[in-house]
């Protein structure tokens, strides 16, 4: 395939998705996180939220159910699915994200490099997503680092 650095600047199709309390509960249950704020509106309000808040890794739900699935994203990058690993993940939060919000997401590949590895060379790519709510407030930024072994 062509040099992975040619991918820098690649923009994925923007997408948006409503933040739903059902999906919040489903994710919290799957993780086994029993924090009542994810299940009970009164508990959430007591902590100062307007509605049920999203757990810290909930933005993955927005990405995969709203945008490209993990399989499709890997294909778009020209990588082989079985040679891709999730290297790093970062989130920065600027405001609350609660059930009832609608998040609009822009997604861009911002860094790409080839690194030597003990078992061969690897492509390292970083995608940055920006999440804005229905009031056009930037509520979060994520950085996803994928490793593709040659």
């Amino acid at each position: 395939m062509a040099n992975v650095k040619d991918l820098i600047g690649l923009e994925f199709q923007p997408y948006s998705l409503a933040v739903e309390k059902g999906k919040i509960k489903e994710l919290a249950l799957a993780i086994g996180d029993d924090n009542p704020i994810y299940y009970d509106l009164e508990a959430a309000k007591k902590e100062g939220y307007d509605n049920i808040p999203a757990p810290p890794t909930f933005l993955q739900v927005i990405d995969l159910w709203g945008g490209l699935g993990s399989v499709e994203k890997v294909e778009k990058l020209g990588f082989k699915l079985t040679r891709v690993l999730h290297g790093q993940q970062a989130y920065e939060f600027f405001g609350d994200i609660v059930a009832g919000d609608v998040l609009s997401v822009t997604s861009k590949l911002v860094e790409a490099e080839i690194k030597p590895g003990s078992t061969g060379a690897m492509d390292i790519v970083v995608t940055e997503n920006q999440y804005r709510n229905q009031q056009d407030e930037l509520v979060a930024i994520s950085r996803n680092t994928l490793i593709h072994r040659h």
Partner: protein
């Protein structure tokens, strides 16, 4: 926990998770939308020379559960992790953390790790959160 009371080097209470199950991986796939077959289909995992493994983001979810048991979800500003080792069904994850630094504006910086019961680090990270002030 108030900002004024926290000291650098403070170790947060350990969060102990139940062993990961195969059904949990199915739940997590549906919840997250990550249907990568390495987490779900034996034949695919074996063909890739592996066994079925847990989603890295499931472990990050457990790690963030630990973080938000120490600081309020509302006050979490940054969370970044590196995925080091694979995690398999049957393993029990512990989340541990330690305050690294106190910054201006009531911000604390801390390290956080997800380990199995043998102490093998699966995911390691840093988080930043604001703490309430006594003032």
């Amino acid at each position: 926990m108030f900002y004024e009371d926290v000291k650098e080097g403070y170790e947060f209470p350990v969060l102990e998770k139940e062993p990961i199950t195969r059904v949990q991986l199915v739940r997590f796939a549906g919840a997250s939308g990550d249907f990568h077959p390495l987490h779900l289909v034996e034949e695919v995992a074996e063909k890739a020379g592996m066994k079925i493994l847990a989603h890295g983001m499931l472990i990050m979810g457990m790690l963030s559960q630990g973080v938000t048991s120490w600081v309020s979800r509302k006050n979490l500003k940054k969370l970044q992790v590196r995925f080091s080792k694979m995690t398999f069904p049957g393993e029990s994850i512990q989340i541990v953390g330690k305050v690294l630094e106190k910054k201006a504006d009531n911000i604390v910086v801390a390290e956080v790790f997800a380990k199995n019961s043998e102490g093998e680090v699966k995911v390691s990270g840093i988080f930043e959160a604001t703490l309430p002030s006594r003032n």
